[in-house]
């Protein structure tokens, strides 16, 4: 089971729900589950990076999730 934590900026799109636990094998299925539950989230998270167990990826669609994976959506970071 993976747990997704929604930041303050995203809870406007989840009706105030701050976390969601889903039973999915990969990030791709997790994204599907999240956007099916909260359709308004699709646009804002499309341009965000995804942190899986502390590691931040740009597009980890096919990354397998662990039994207790923690997911965060974080803004993509520009560097110099």
């Amino acid at each position: 089971m993976a747990t997704i934590y929604f930041s303050a900026a995203l809870t406007d799109f989840t009706g105030g729900i701050e976390s969601l636990t889903v039973d999915v094998p990969r990030v791709r299925e997790l994204m599907q589950a999240v956007t099916e539950r909260f359709p308004d989230l699709a646009d804002p998270i499309e341009i965000m990076a995804i942190a899986v167990d502390g590691e931040v990826y740009q597009e980890p669609d096919y990354l397998k999730l662990g039994e207790n994976s923690e997911i965060h959506f974080v803004p993509r970071i520009a560097g110099g």
Binding site: E55, F73, P75, G79
Partner: protein
């Protein structure tokens, strides 16, 4: 990652392959390239900070002998296209409008037309003949002006993205508002014994790269485009130019020159789309070079900022609550690093209750570009100044206060995920143990310390490693070498194959000659492209083992690689080990050329932390200050080439010191930049500063085979507050506005 691995080449200090060319002036930079029949481009820029373009008459310019093409915004298509360039989505519409204005000039220096002619002088004279009729509008120069009720609006269609306030006006200059929060802020501050709240400002400053923007473009009759340019990312130049102009990216080849500094400022395109369009119109190659004046007025500075910071602490130094509001100038189009600033502002500390808001605000200044750890220096200037004041008021050692609250592995970052292995505590302990921290101060001197944080990017990289018949090797990547990455890549090949560094030739290839590489930025090249290089070298090594098996006529499982040789295992123990040279000499007989390939999409490297100690001496009669001793301490993961890691730390410290002490964009009331040159925009030079001492802490990054994490950006984060805290120690005045230039210091000391 093998924490116990011992290295033969990693951690040594060989001479860089591009060193001789660079110190002798033989290296070719952006402006060095020429072609037969080449024309010279010149850009006409707006004299107004904010004006509607009513009409442009180019007839006189076009009639000038020697002029071959004139373009205006009408020649640059308006587009809604975006480019996913890894670090962030780039909006190509604003980038094209920034390159050549369509309807409005949004800052003084905004390009409104361009000319290509047979000489630079003719091009400039012809540009001056272009008649532009403007409807001059009121400029919006600061975040306060931009947010004021009834403020002039830069973009009629701008809406606030993110999490706008409920009562936010419909027409706005706020492009984005974001929030980060955790815990119960009110209860947190209620539990505090001490609360410090101050508002800080930092000025707009330029990256200050020595080499101005420059390029040559050739648009062929067959639609094939060649661009030679100085850039941090030639794949970005290709994709952005193609996207802006509606050209298939496959028709654009971009060749990077050597680069004389970028620091984030050479990521956007400015000249390249114009040179391509001028070349298409003139049917000849076109060269464009910015003057220093152009660089200051029209290429990426970083945001001026205003940051309100409030932190609450218990008597024992435990930080219990923080709130911050960050207001960042984006320049003429949305896209300041306010969001990154918000993510950084309390990142070094575990504070259970916080609320951070950040605003991205358009103003009539040049569109900001990235600048080394974009967003973090201004944010951390506020935090680290307040932390210093809290320590002072609690009577605590400022390093002890930071150690008490320092984030460590397993703590949740303020932006969400838990930290992996990070080195903040080790860095702070090394700072406390450094002789500098305990050294006596002289008269009129003060000492400051401050921390810094930056994320360090990952992203996409490709590399190939090819062997020659004599056993030497080439390593090819697609990242312009700004900070010594070529030699670092060669060292990685040496480490994997056992070839001396001087027998490995590193090359930065053009967009046709290597797979896709994201930019040289985000402190990512030694980490992410390094991983691609290691993969490519290991691929070549595996091929060498297979060739040895073929020579020995044994199963490949009977061959291992050890210290630059294929060695026989069980079943082949009667064979003599084969060196790289011996195997390379047999390439043709054993299967042909050996080419190793590596490609990665790397996660972010894991954050970097640094502290700086600054001693400053102040002449209280003149307000002039001088940094007399400076030490930078940083968790670098693993220093592949320590000299270039130290160079990054020293360079970042110097840029941060300049930001703290003297650098600033100075505008008059009409929005005209008054100091667009190095005589009036005062950057530190070598004679201004002492030797910057460095201490490298190596807390291995588990995501990299050698433990490497990014090192190039975090060095610029601590200096702003380290200098200001030292100034507070020397003068007894807590400065909240940068720069700490002599007039400002003198004014504060005189109590005016």
């Amino acid at each position: 990652m093998s924490a116990e691995r011992t290295f033969e080449y990693i951690g040594t200090r060989p001479i860089r392959h591009d060193g001789l060319d660079k110190v002798t002036g033989r290296a070719n930079y952006g402006a060095d390239f020429t072609l037969p029949g080449m024309l010279h481009g010149h850009v006409l820029r707006s004299p107004h900070a904010h004006a509607r373009i009513v009409s442009i008459d180019t007839s006189a310019a076009e009639a000038t002998p020697g002029v071959k093409a004139v373009i205006t915004g009408k020649d640059i298509p308006k587009t809604n296209a975006k480019l996913s360039l890894g670090e962030a989505a780039m909006e190509l519409g604003p980038m094209g409008d920034n390159a050549l204005a369509h309807d409005k000039a949004l800052y003084e220096g905004h390009a409104v037309a361009a000319v290509a002619a047979t000489s630079p002088e003719i091009a400039r004279e012809a540009a001056e003949k272009i008649v532009v009729v403007y409807e001059v509008l009121k400029p919006v120069m600061t975040v306060d002006q931009a947010l004021a009720p009834g403020a002039t609006i830069l973009h009629d269609d701008l809406v606030t993205k993110g999490k706008p306030l409920a009562d936010a006006p419909k027409h706005t200059n706020v492009a984005l508002r974001m929030e980060l929060k955790r815990g119960d802020l009110e209860a947190g501050f209620a539990a505090a014994d001490l609360i410090v709240e101050r508002t800080f400002t930092t000025p707009m400053v330029h990256q200050g790269y020595i080499e101005p923007h420059a390029c040559v473009a050739r648009y062929g009759e067959d639609g094939q485009v060649l661009v030679w340019t100085t850039t941090q990312g030639h794949f970005i130049v290709r994709d952005a130019s193609a996207g802006i102009l509606g050209i298939d990216a496959a028709k654009v080849k971009v060749v990077p020159s050597e680069i004389g500094g970028g620091f984030g400022g050479k990521i956007p395109v400015y000249l390249e789309p114009l040179a391509i369009v001028l070349s298409r119109k003139a049917h000849r190659p076109v060269k464009m070079v910015m003057s220093r004046d152009d660089v200051f007025r029209a290429s990426g500075p970083t945001s001026g900022t205003k940051v309100r910071m409030k932190i609450g602490a218990k008597k024992d130094g435990t930080l219990v609550a923080a709130s911050a509001s960050l207001y960042y100038e984006a320049g003429a189009y949305p896209g300041s690093p306010a969001g990154a600033g918000a993510m950084c502002v309390i990142a070094p500390y575990t504070i259970p209750n916080f609320m951070i808001e950040a605003y991205d605000i358009v103003v009539n200044r040049p569109k900001v570009a990235a600048y080394r750890a974009p967003g973090s220096p201004a944010a951390m200037f506020a935090t680290e100044s307040v932390i210093d004041e809290i320590a002072q008021k609690l009577g605590m050692d400022p390093i002890d206060l930071r150690l008490k609250n320092a984030a460590q592995e397993g703590d949740s970052a303020p932006y969400g995920p838990k930290y992996g292995p990070i080195g903040l505590k080790q860095v702070l302990e090394a700072t406390k143990a450094h002789p500098h921290w305990k050294a006596p101060l002289g008269p009129n001197q003060g000492r400051g310390v401050a921390c810094g944080f930056w994320f360090n990017a990952g992203l996409n990289s490709t590399a190939t490693v090819s062997l020659s018949a004599d056993g030497s090797a080439t390593v090819v990547t697609g990242n312009p070498d700004i900070g010594g990455t070529r030699v670092a890549q060669a060292m990685m090949v040496s480490e994997e194959l056992g070839i001396p560094v001087e027998r490995v030739r590193p090359t930065v290839a053009d967009t046709d000659s290597i797979g896709y590489n994201d930019l040289t930025g985000g402190s990512r090249v030694c980490y992410a492209t390094g991983m691609a290089v290691i993969k490519a070298a290991q691929d070549a090594r595996d091929q060498l083992c297979a060739r040895a098996a073929k020579i020995w006529d044994v199963d490949p499982s009977c061959v291992a690689w050890e210290r630059g040789r294929a060695i026989p295992l069980n079943g082949a123990s009667d064979k003599e080990p084969l060196t790289v040279s011996a195997l390379a000499a047999k390439m043709t007989a054993t299967g042909g050329p050996i080419v190793g390939r590596g490609a990665v999409s790397a996660p972010m490297a894991g954050p970097g932390f640094a502290t700086n100690i600054c001693d400053i001496e102040v002449d209280k009669e003149t307000g002039v200050s001088r940094v007399v001793r400076y030490t930078a301490i940083q968790d670098v993961g693993k220093a592949v080439h320590p000299s270039y890691v130290e160079g990054q730390m020293q360079g970042g410290a110097v840029q941060g010191i300049g930001w703290a002490l003297n650098e600033e964009y100075i505008y008059d009331e009409a929005g005209h930049l008054e100091n667009a040159g190095f005589l009036d925009y005062r950057m530190p030079v070598a004679s201004d500063l002492p030797m910057i001492d460095t201490v490298l802490i190596e807390v291995a990054n588990p995501l990299h085979p050698y433990g490497v994490r990014g090192v190039g950006e975090v060095p610029i984060v601590p200096p702003l507050a380290a200098v200001a805290n030292a100034m507070a120690g020397a003068t007894g005045v807590r400065f909240t506005d940068l720069p700490l230039s002599p007039p400002r210091v003198l004014k504060a000391l005189s109590g005016a």
